[in-house]
């Protein structure tokens, strides 16, 4: 689904200073940030620790108050409670009520929205199935692993089928499988026309799912644009073929020379570690008995 032109988030000259007890400024977390997030896009906020990513998310949610500047979310000021009907938020750590179990957690958050008991039940079962916690739904969250807590955290963020989803370090604490699931889910949300804003310092994750990104450094916006446009190198071309013989490579080189171009590098493409890991797990599921066998060393057994 393509992104629309309607702005879901509008940030204008947003600054945030942290102050001490006496009101003295200690840190400027954000400095004159201006950006828009459009409906239906997956937007990534990037930056090293302390760059202002999470502060920006919290200002959008009304958890922090701006020192100056304006924020509008879904057309409303950030402090407006009504707008939260259409927002889902996954915090960096899953700050949930540890004495509740998964069912109770989702039922509690569902009650905060205009959802009937039947709707809540249906949505709860659907989300628990989706995040893979069916077996653990009656266990208190204090008995959950970090990954499981992230999953239930995600489920609570989606309980209201939100139009805007804010994800703070969504893949943090997840194993590669969970991380892949999360990225698939973000793509699915995008396909459903939802707007997703995520902040992360895991660049590969952001590259995989985001349409646009903003890079922040020390509270200032340094880069803003489409991921494809920002990463594209227009001065070089990449040609991908089936395996070539040495002779064929020489012919290609000559052909390129005729057009004034030079061949810079010829190599076999490598897969990513993530792909290798996911393929191994998938194969293990298909063939449970198969194990790794160490290659025999020469002379062994003599």
């Amino acid at each position: 689904m393509s992104t629309g032109t309607e702005n879901v988030v509008e940030i204008r000259n947003l600054s945030k200073d942290y102050r001490d007890f006496w009101g003295r400024k200690t840190v400027q977390a954000l400095n004159s940030l201006t950006l828009d997030v459009k409906k239906g896009e997956v937007f990534g906020l990037l930056g090293p620790n302390g760059s202002g990513k999470t502060t920006t998310l919290k200002l959008l949610l009304g958890l922090l108050f701006p020192s100056s500047g304006q924020v509008r979310v879904l057309g409303q000021p950030a402090h407006d409670v009504e707008k939260n009907e259409r927002i889902g938020y996954l915090p960096e750590e899953s700050y949930l009520y540890r004495f509740l179990n998964a069912d109770e957690t989702l039922d509690f958050y569902g009650r905060l929205f205009k959802m009937s008991a039947a709707e809540r039940r249906e949505r709860r079962d659907q989300l628990i199935e989706m995040v893979g916690l069916k077996q653990a739904r009656r266990r208190q969250l204090k008995q959950y692993s970090k990954g499981m807590t992230r999953r239930i955290g995600l489920a609570q963020a989606l309980i209201n089928n939100p139009d805007l989803v804010l994800l703070d370090e969504p893949t943090s604490g997840l194993d590669p499988l969970g991380s892949r699931d999360m990225k698939d889910l973000i793509n699915k949300l995008k396909d459903q026309g939802k707007t997703v804003i995520m902040c992360s310092h895991l660049l590969a994750d952001v590259q995989d799912v985001c349409d646009r990104i903003a890079i922040l450094y020390l509270g200032e916006l340094k880069v803003l644009g489409n991921v494809g446009d920002l990463l594209e190198s227009s001065e070089e071309s990449l040609l991908r073929t089936s395996q070539l013989s040495d002779e064929a490579i020489r012919d290609v080189e000559q052909a390129l020379a005729k057009h004034g171009a030079t061949m810079k590098n010829v190599s076999h493409p490598t897969s990513t570690l993530e792909e290798l890991f996911l393929n191994t797990i998938a194969e293990s599921r298909d063939r449970p008995g198969q194990r790794y066998v160490a290659p025999q060393r020469a002379g062994a057994g003599k």
């Binding site: 942290y18 009101g23 919290k58 949610l61 009304g62 958890l63 922090l64 108050f65 020192s67 402090h79 409670v81 009504e82 939260n84 009907e85 927002i87 938020y89 915090p91 750590e93 700050y95 949930l96 009520y97 004495f99 509740l100 109770e104 509690f108 958050y109 009650r111 905060l112 929205f113 205009k114 208190q140 609570q156 209201n160």
Partner: protein, 559 residues
């Protein structure tokens, strides 16, 4: 403690509402005095506008609460409390009761056995539950903020007012459950543990009190009797064998006060002051005179004198059933020649409720019949007894008062926890409790007895300190100089501050029905339950606003 404090009528309610309104306006003024400069320091000239906007938003927040969300937050709070093992207090309670007989001497039929048992149940419940209510409600919200679980709630469409109110409802539900269990357990324990011989003390008497005035030894009307030199001037005394009388006027008597024998039970608790030893083993004598001032009828009952019974724990010993119809056989009927229409005829019998009532009022005069002895009495020392109410109902009413007190504590604690952390909130509420329960009487005494017309009698706190150092008599005027004048001004400031404090510190004693129950009285709704309910509501409304504004105006992320 006496048991005749006046209930709340419509005029008191109106005046109370006026004071409440003034207190709320002063609170708003204090908030503005602090909020506007702070907001201006952050937002410059837009500061006052932001404060006004927050006030309006908070008002809308309080008025737009959703029952569904309130219920969700209340349920969450209830679950949180239960799963954090709050109900273990019931185990402590049971253990306490298992060993209670060791120190209560259960089974020994002493004179005050019932009172001791009742006070034990009430004290155990109160002092176990007050700390739990304070700790639960003071620490819940700050923990929620510290662990950031509140983030996942405030980023949903939950209003700040719903968070405060929902928490209050949840903690109140926990307290209600625990109180119910303790109440039932305590009642069963009382029924089983109070010795049979003392079970007749487990009653709920319903007194009808009259107004008290005096006649001195010449028979002249007086507001007070004689002071026999006792510092505690609760009781006034009348001299024996003289015209001195204590006059009680009852205006709430009708046929509903009659018992099954067609008699009016009249209970008396007089104190004797002896100017000589008298006869060993014989009490001071007195008699009742039912007087109709319009017809001049004076009916003495009993015909001979009765003896006072000091320190008797059994109310039945000091209760005299006065027959509705008094005849010349059981009383002395005479006519004193005052009043229009008085005739010389003395009737053979007199109906108390027909012949002795003047404008719906019955006048009972008490005389001391031993010369040179004195009889002391106060307003609650003589009362007619309506039919006893059920002890269980009186017991339940005491628990209703206690329940309201716990809810008020939850309200105050939750509100405090919206603007300070758990330990500070606990300290704040504990101070409030000590001021409102233990020191409240002292505060009221300071304001009513030691200050007259806005001026401290004999000097205020600072003036007294100066007089101590200069060894000046309290009656000597202070030397006129700038220092002393500023001391007087400061003393007036302290007085005003104390006066203001008396409005914002609830009188927790108004919730306490235990002394009534322990002393065998019904707990009157108009002096205990209704004021307690009004106080609770009176504090709940501003507290809800304060809590809402506090949560709205703070960054929940900031630690």
């Amino acid at each position: 403690m006496d048991f005749d404090d006046k209930g709340i009528g419509f005029p008191e309610l109106l005046s109370g509402m006026g004071s409440w309104g003034v207190a709320v306006l002063i609170l708003l003024g204090i908030v503005l005095v602090f909020a506007v400069p702070i907001s201006m320091s952050y937002s410059g000239s837009r500061g006052p506008g932001r404060v006004a906007e927050t006030l309006i938003r908070g008002f809308i927040d309080v008025l737009s609460q959703s029952f569904r969300r309130l219920f969700a937050i209340a349920t969450l709070t209830f679950r949180e409390s239960v799963r954090r093992k709050t109900l273990w207090v019931l185990a402590v309670f049971v253990v306490l009761f298992m060993f209670a007989h060791w120190f209560l001497g259960a089974g020994q039929a002493t004179e005050s056995a019932a009172k001791r048992h009742v006070m034990f149940v009430m004290s155990a419940v109160t002092w176990l539950l007050i700390p739990i209510a304070v700790i639960l409600a003071c620490w819940g919200l700050p923990n929620d903020i510290k662990e950031r679980s509140l983030h996942t709630v405030v980023t949903k469409p939950a209003r700040r007012a719903e968070i405060v109110f929902g928490r209050i409802l949840g903690y109140s539900a926990v307290m209600t459950l625990v109180l119910l269990v303790m109440g039932l357990f305590g009642y069963i324990w009382l029924m089983r543990s109070v010795p049979d011989s003392a079970k007749n003390q487990l009653i709920a008497r319903v007194p009808v009190y009259g107004e008290l005035t005096f006649l001195d030894r010449q028979g002249v009307d007086q507001f007070k009797g004689i002071n026999v030199g006792d510092i505690w001037d609760f009781r006034s005394f009348i001299e024996g064998n003289s015209n001195a009388r204590a006059i009680y006027t009852f205006d709430r008597l009708d046929e509903s006060a009659l018992n099954s024998d067609d008699a009016l039970p009249l209970e008396y608790n007089f104190e004797a002051f002896r100017s000589y030893k008298g006869t060993i083993g014989q009490n001071v004598r007195f008699s009742f005179h039912f007087v109709n001032k319009a017809t001049g009828l004076d009916v003495q009952y009993p015909a001979g004198s009765a003896y006072i019974r000091e320190y008797s724990p059994n109310p039945e010993d000091t209760t005299m059933a006065i027959p509705r119809v008094l005849t010349s056989k059981n009383s002395l009927i005479s006519r004193v020649g005052f009043g229009e229409g008085a005739t010389e005829n003395v009737p053979e019998e007199v109906d108390l409720l027909k012949d002795m009532m003047v404008d719906g009022k019955l006048r009972v005069e008490v005389s001391c019949d031993d010369g040179a002895q004195y009889l002391g009495m106060a307003r609650p020392d003589l009362f007619f007894r309506l039919p006893n109410r059920s002890f269980f109902v009186a017991y339940a009413k005491t628990f209703v008062g206690m329940w309201l007190m716990l809810i008020l504590i939850v309200v105050l604690s939750t509100t405090a926890s919206t603007f300070v952390k758990g330990p500070v909130a606990t300290f704040l509420v504990a101070t409030y409790l000590i001021m409102g329960r233990l020191l409240r009487g002292h505060l009221d005494e300071l304001l009513t007895q030691f200050y007259k017309d806005g001026k401290p009698i004999g000097g205020g706190l600072l003036e007294s300190a100066v007089r101590l150092t200069t060894q000046d008599n309290q009656l000597t005027p202070l030397a006129s100089n700038g220092f002393n004048e500023s001391i007087v001004v400061l003393d007036r400031g302290i007085l005003r501050w104390l006066n203001a404090m008396s409005y914002i510190i609830p009188d927790f004693n108004k919730f306490d029905g235990a002394p009534y129950l322990a002393n065998g009285f019904d707990v009157p709704a108009e002096t205990r339950i209704v004021p307690a309910l009004i106080i609770t509501i009176g504090f709940f409304i501003p507290c809800l606003f304060v809590g809402t504004y506090s949560l709205m105006s703070r960054e929940l992320e900031a630690k």
